[in-house]
């Protein structure tokens, strides 16, 4: 790899694309010498963030989801962004078991993201959208 590698991916908020998104990120990440466990952590975190954009961000609508990944010296950074309804209270959303769709969901998605990734930052604005930046740190050994 001559330069720092990155990728940007865009797709509509269909549930079938959750698998596509996490697999694409995993294929991109596999150029790094990371463990199977780290790769699985990233896949689950991406799956949660993209699922949230599909079911919450675009709950009563359809829209586009932006996914990007970037390899830096010692970290793999994934960003999932939607232009959906936004989160009014992020601290509340992060609580274990908190969900706005209690009849269907368990409120574990954000918990998993924080558990599996090393750094997480969520920014959101009501009716504007939500952006989740997730970082996995490691000693980079590019192949």
């Amino acid at each position: 790899m001559e330069n720092k590698n990155w990728m940007k991916l865009e797709f509509p908020s269909e549930s079938v694309n959750v698998l596509f998104a996490r697999t694409a990120v995993a294929v991109f990440a596999s150029q790094l010498e990371i463990t199977l466990e780290e790769l699985e952590d990233i896949k689950v975190a991406v799956s949660e963030a993209v699922s949230n954009s599909v079911i919450h961000g675009y709950r009563d609508s359809h829209g586009t989801i932006l996914l990007s990944a970037e390899i830096s010296d010692n970290a793999f950074v994934v960003t999932v962004e939607d232009y959906g309804c936004g989160i009014p209270d992020i601290e509340q959303a992060k609580e274990t078991g908190y969900t706005t769709i209690p009849q269907e969901r368990m409120g574990l998605g954000l918990i998993f993201i924080y558990e599996l990734m090393d750094k997480v930052s969520i920014t959101s604005e009501v009716n504007q959208g939500t952006k989740v930046v997730m970082t996995k740190e490691f000693v980079l050994q590019a192949t």
């Binding site: 799956s47 969901r105 574990l108 998993f112």
Partner: protein, 110 residues
């Protein structure tokens, strides 16, 4: 992707593939129909060997089914989870409420 049989009062389900937002709903319906059609069923035995991936959407369905069979006095029993799947199940505290075994035989003799 889904198959099942009933032995004694246990519903044994074999799942294949990846359990996420897209595949969790048919998985849920499949189990709920079996439970609705046979009120004898108590235990739910999930053969996880061919599950390649699970996230909180898949877990949510399993936790929801756990509530249903608990009302019937049944138990939730996992058979041969991969290390990756087990890690994710543990994140949700599943090991506190469910049983983990290495074979259906072992699951049925619990």
């Amino acid at each position: 992707m889904l198959s099942s049989k009933t032995v004694d009062r246990a519903l044994i389900i074999s799942v294949e593939g990846e359990l996420d937002l897209h595949t969790a709903p048919p998985f849920k319906e499949y189990i709920d129909e079996k439970l609705a059609n046979n009120s004898d069923i108590k235990d739910l035995v999930l053969q996880m060997e061919k599950i390649k991936f699970i996230d909180s959407s898949g877990l949510g369905v399993i936790l929801g089914r756990y509530k249903l069979i608990k009302e019937r006095g049944g138990r939730l029993i996992f058979v041969t989870c991969s290390p990756q799947v087990y890690r994710i199940l543990k994140l949700s505290g599943m090991q506190k409420i469910a049983y983990f075994t290495d074979s259906v035989k072992e699951a049925l003799s619990l």
